[in-house]
Amino acid sequence: MSILDPLKGFGVTFGTMFRGVVTEDYPVNPAPVAPRYRMRHRLNRHPDGLEKCIGCELCAWACPADAIYVEGGNNTPDARYSPGERYAKDYQINYLRCIGCGMCVEACPTRSLTMINEYELADDDRQRLIYTKEQLLSPLLPGMEQPPHPPRLGTEKDYYVKGPELLKEYNDARRAAGDKIPQPPPLPPLGVATGQSADRVLRSTSRGEDAS
């Protein structure tokens, strides 16, 4: 051991002072994640606001961590939440259990369940980490109507069979009537951290969206 070793050590410390910071400034300034990174779930809607989820529980079945709870219910003529007969009366995801594997998304037959790139799923309260259906449902975008309501996009059957075509017709009709069809807001540019919670909502509505 040389007498100069302590100096060498301090030299490293001193030198580092002139290099860039490698740690994240979280939570003050969260770094953006890769745009296709997926974590928090989202239950999507049809363009008229009806829920895509039919409460089939296939996501719950597929989940290796048993994180999802679904209870089906009957749509009635007076209270319709989704096209068809069945809807999710209750839907919960337990983020204490979820491992983010995405099996549920793969299992979903209606493309109702997708994941968005929000990842801030930590809390000091276990109860709050069980997300309810209201928290998981996609916010109503312009043009959407809060269910229950009747299907606005043709009959149930047409809607099932030719959903995308109907949507195009519907949008064309609205454009022809002079309506502005809302476009989702653009993604924030890569590498720009937004940091504020208001932006976080924006981010979460703007990515991983599957509104059609």
């Binding site: 409460g55 529980e57 009957n74 007076d78 068809g84 037959p109």
Partner: protein, 852 residues
Amino acid sequence: MTATLPATETPAILGPAWDADAPAPDGYVKFVIDGQDVVAPKGEMVIRTCERMGIEITRFCDHPLLEPIAACRQCLVEMEMGGRMMPKPQPACAVAVADGLVVHTQRTSAVAARAQWANVEFILTNHPLDCPMCDKGGECPLQNQDLAHGPGESRFKEAKRTFVKPIAISTEILLDRDRCILCYRCTRFSEEIAGDPFIDMLGRGVRQQVGTGPEVPFQSYFSGNTIQICPVGALTSTAYRFRSRAFDLKSAPTICELCSAGCELRTDHRSGKILRRYAGENGDVNEEWNCDKGRFAFRYVTGDDRLRTPLVRGTDGSLAPASWTDAMTAAAAGLARAKAAGGVGVLAGGRLTVTDAYAYGKFARVALGTNDVDFRARAHSAEELDFLARRVVGVSPKTGGVTYRGLEAAKHVLLVALEPEEECPIVFLRLRKAARRHGTQITAVAPYASYGLHKMGGVLIPAAPGAENAAVAALAGADDPAGLRTDGAVILVGERAAEVPGLLTAVGELADATGARLAWVPRRAGERGALDAGATPTLLPGGRAVTDAAARAQVENAWGTAIPETPGRDTAGILAAAAAGELGGLLIGGVELDDLPDPAAARRAVENAGFVVSLELRRSEVTDLADVVFPVAAAPEKAGAYLDWEGRVRPFNTALKWAGGLDDGRVLDTLGVEMDVDLYTQTPKSATEDLARLGAYEIPRTRTASYPPTTATPAAADGALTLASWRLLLDGSRAEDGEPHLAGTRRPESVRLSPATAERLGLADGTLVTLTGTAGSVTLPLVVTDMVDGVVWAPGRVAGTSLAAQTGARAGDGVTVAAAPPDAVAAVDPDVVASEAEGRLGSLVTGMGGSK
């Protein structure tokens, strides 16, 4: 090579000693499956033999308890007969085994494998892609067999045929016709097993579909079984639709608590709530069937009116929630005071498990020092107790009692005061099977031939209420009109026989005279167990008579207490004494006052009793009048055992493990401790052990009193008709609460008169009539029925309320019947027209409108 068959009901004739070259024994044939020599009983279908050999053959329509039909063509195998291959694959479910047959299943024949594979694909051509929303998804034979043996993917790209879906074939059963694979299981069940052929195949070809007749719903007490046997999700129940998935459910085997049939059931629950009940399998009891009441009436368990905490009547005179400790102290002090002030009567109720009933009987004797304990909350008599002591208590399949299988084997069965379809549905199914398969002759002594009797092809011996004695006595004649002198003949007598003085004696004498075997069939699940457990005024546990010093000493030794040597009061006696102020108090188990023969008198008695302790599941008339109320566990929340009508022990475990209720035995045990006595009934296990400590006892079958059969029909007052009445299976009893879809399948309630009587009274079929007793009247439509003159029949409950409570009349009483006033409307139970069912289904179905 010789196959060794797994053990089955077939005698073990194959084994190491069996010689492959020897011919098959009598009644058996020898043939070859996949190169193995096998022996099978004549008449067996090839698919059954394969099953026993462990060869799985895909199938949809085949069901071991239904007749073969070969509708789905899924079980195709290749067959050779006399060395020649049959030109096409044959359905294994419909070809009987034969000497010299050679079978090639999919294991050895590529043709068979290909045929099965192709048939799945064919069946799927028109099957909708409904799995995500279909209730059967996850437990569906079509899904499973397609994944295991089928293509898994369809080449059929054209549009599938669709139907409006679902249609409600009754308020409880929904039919999705596009899912149906036309296997005929449901229609065969309804025709062959239940005898209610209200659904059938309609149309042909690709439009062929299951359906009901116009305006005739699938109104069968057994309709729920079709859901269970449908191999796809074409039949679903309104109650369970979309509520859960197979993988969510925790299943617990259980025994039905709703009648004395003792059905094996499976309770499926999720998050502490029962979501459905399925029939379990038990060849000795219910085979694979059960009734709709047992299947759908379980919502009462989680009803809003369940009691959750003890209640104590405070100084202000109102019931208030209290801690268990306070309630126990109050109850013990009150009972001790009541005991000193004339004694306490115990009404145990007929729905208890054996050990709970034992706790009531023991509590009465040990803590209250009385024999005033009775489980009978219905018409009863001293003669009945004598009959039960002589001929029923202690009898079980083990002691050679009548069994379900015995019914099936009997050549002749006589029914007295028993309507099996309404009062013990599985007895009905067995009897119908016996009549259909083995030609059993069924004879019933009743005022008219019910629908159930028709379905059993039975013969009616018409008898007005009160005149049954003479009719029964006449059957003892040498000409033997009911065939009771034949080998294995059985007499089944219902609990209603107690309504007619002398009838049980006459039935007993008939059995003695003819040598026929005799069994008693009560309605409630707990009655047989309570009888054997000693919750009666004359019998201690195990049929030991209170008056028999030696028997009493045996119990006194085990219990370490003296037992009064005089028989106690029965239910009517206890209530009369309470009303007269002779008793200081009452301890009441699950008793509905309306079920008692005189509800008004019972109400007065409970009101008059100085101190009333009630052990109940839910708020009731009794709990409203009680001074201390203890909540007890419902059947799915506790363990225990029932004795079914055969006397067979039907043990069950807790289904809802976390519900946390205390059973009656536990509550009484704690109450005993509070009163300084030990019951040892804190768990069913310890109660059973305590019961076993009594030791062995031979029940002397001697007559203790004589009840000469009365032959005189009670003379009805001038112009009055004699009332005949019994309870229907589904009649708005409290167990059915909370299940409106089930209520919709109730049979229409009506009053019945013979054509002559109706004519005499100037009443026409279908018109509204008013039946009036001493205390009131009910209005129902009249159905003119071929029946005894001078008698009127009405259901035991009308619009969900006891007939006796509404009219003051019970079976055998004189009542008057007259045309209803023009503005009268038929009594309708508000529960029946189910708003949800109507709202959802009303637009799809015409002519449903409930049962009334």
